[in-house]
């Protein structure tokens, strides 16, 4: 089991690292978004400072969203998932490796880079820790919620609408609480963090399970 896990994980990681396709994509998109904000605001420093946290969260969301679609797609299209299924490879291993890698290559770099960008956007050092922690809880949640949605888009023609209409209701609460939590961090209240943690801990149990179910249904 562990052997399989490590094997699949290393394949996934290799895919992200060498198949330049994936690894750069989310991060590059994040950079693109972050760049667009100051540019499109036309250089109003004051404004930029105020929306810096929100904009980092928004960019993190977009970077996640844009890399969502391809999460299972290739493995589905070329029949790898099918072979996994036939060869009795437990799907929870697959789903968890996918989750870990997806977070590692979209969420994690963003977390690491976020202090930098916060300084770059807002010009001040406050809120760094708050943002860091909130992203640390929020980005895995993005990846987790994204998984069943990504699985859903496999079998059906209505990829687009599903992606959009299901991401809105499920991602929005996270981003709302995420932004709120940064603000409340500086004022010393952590209730939003606890809430996000609670969602995360529930999500990490149920969402992979749901993803597995949906994946199996899409194989037919």
């Amino acid at each position: 089991m562990t052997r399989l896990f490590i094997l699949l994980l290393s394949r996934e990681v290799k895919g992200y690292l060498f198949n330049t396709n994936k690894s750069w994509f989310a991060l590059g998109f994040f950079l693109l978004c972050i760049l667009i904000f100051p540019l499109s605001l036309g250089g109003s420093e004051d404004l930029l400072k105020k929306i810096s946290i929100s904009s980092i969260w928004i960019c993190a969301l977009f970077a996640n969203l844009i890399s969502l679609e391809s999460l299972f797609k290739e493995d589905y299209k070329n029949g790898t998932l099918l072979q996994y299924h036939i060869n009795r490879i437990p799907f929870f291993i697959i789903v968890f490796t996918k989750f870990i890698c997806h977070w590692l290559f979209t969420g994690f770099p963003i977390i690491i880079l976020s202090p930098l960008f916060l300084i770059f956007l807002s010009g001040s050092y406050e809120n760094i820790l708050g943002l860091f922690y909130s992203l640390l809880i929020g980005t895995p949640l993005f990846s987790l919620i994204g998984m069943p949605i990504s699985a859903l888009t496999l079998g059906s023609a209505a990829r687009g609408p599903i992606l959009v209409f299901l991401t809105i209701p499920f991602f929005l609460p996270i981003i709302i609480f995420g932004v709120l939590s940064v603000n409340s961090f500086s004022s010393g209240s952590f209730s939003e963090y606890y809430l996000l943690c609670a969602i995360l801990s529930i999500g990490i149990i149920f969402l992979p399970y749901i993803t597995i179910k949906i994946l199996k249904e899409s194989l037919e």
Binding site: N78, L82, H85, N87, I89
Partner: protein, 198 residues
């Protein structure tokens, strides 16, 4: 000679999207036996294999003998060929997945694929891709092989190689369920059963 069965299919019927594809299919695959599924295009041959491999939902009974290794080897139209990987990457990955201990040099030479080892799979020709899937098949330690049109699109030499493979697998006590529109010339195999569906 009442050999033990590897797999039993009884009264199998299958619906896809509320449409009945086939009905009442029954056969028994014995150790050392071959089941050839015949039928016209669209009669549901591939669907039967998919039912057996556990992908499609079905009604009826599919019993795999637990005494044997119950892994299944499947070669169909979609063969887990990741376009960007090279042949070498593909083979090492599946070798590890299947815990195949031997070196795969032998199997590669067998199919004349050595010189393509570092080529991405998307550059291979149709037949070469098929050969590659058979390489994967050889690394599974499984008794039951499901082959969907195993020899279509292959040249003479490869065809006979694959027939050799099948024969060997059967001699070792395995079983093969194959669909094909071409005649698979299994001279050395005695226990061949033909199932016709429509």
């Amino acid at each position: 000679m009442s050999k033990e069965y590897l797999l039993e299919v009884k009264n199998l019927s299958c619906e896809r999207n509320y449409k009945l594809i086939f009905d009442n299919v029954s056969f028994k695959l014995c150790s050392g036996g071959v089941v050839l599924i015949n039928g016209n295009n669209g009669s549901g041959k591939s669907s039967i294999l998919m039912c057996i491999s556990g992908i499609l939902e079905y009604k009826g009974l599919i019993k795999i003998n637990k005494k044997y290794n119950d892994k299944i080897g499947y070669v169909g139209h979609k063969n887990a060929l990741c376009e960007e990987d090279t042949i070498y990457e593909y083979l090492t990955f599946w070798k590890k997945i299947y815990n195949y201990k031997k070196d795969f040099n032998y199997v590669i030479n067998f199919f004349d694929l050595r010189k393509y080892l570092e080529i991405p799979i998307k550059f291979l020709s149709f037949g070469q891709k098929k050969k590659l899937s058979f390489l994967r098949l050889q690394m599974i330690k499984s008794q039951i092989w499901l082959l969907d049109e195993p020899i279509s699109g292959l040249d003479k030499r490869t065809r006979s190689l694959i027939i050799n493979l099948i024969t060997k697998h059967i001699e070792k006590g395995g079983g093969v369920i194959a669909t094909s529109h071409q005649i698979i010339n299994l001279r050395k195999v005695k226990n061949i059963m033909r199932v016709k569906i429509d």
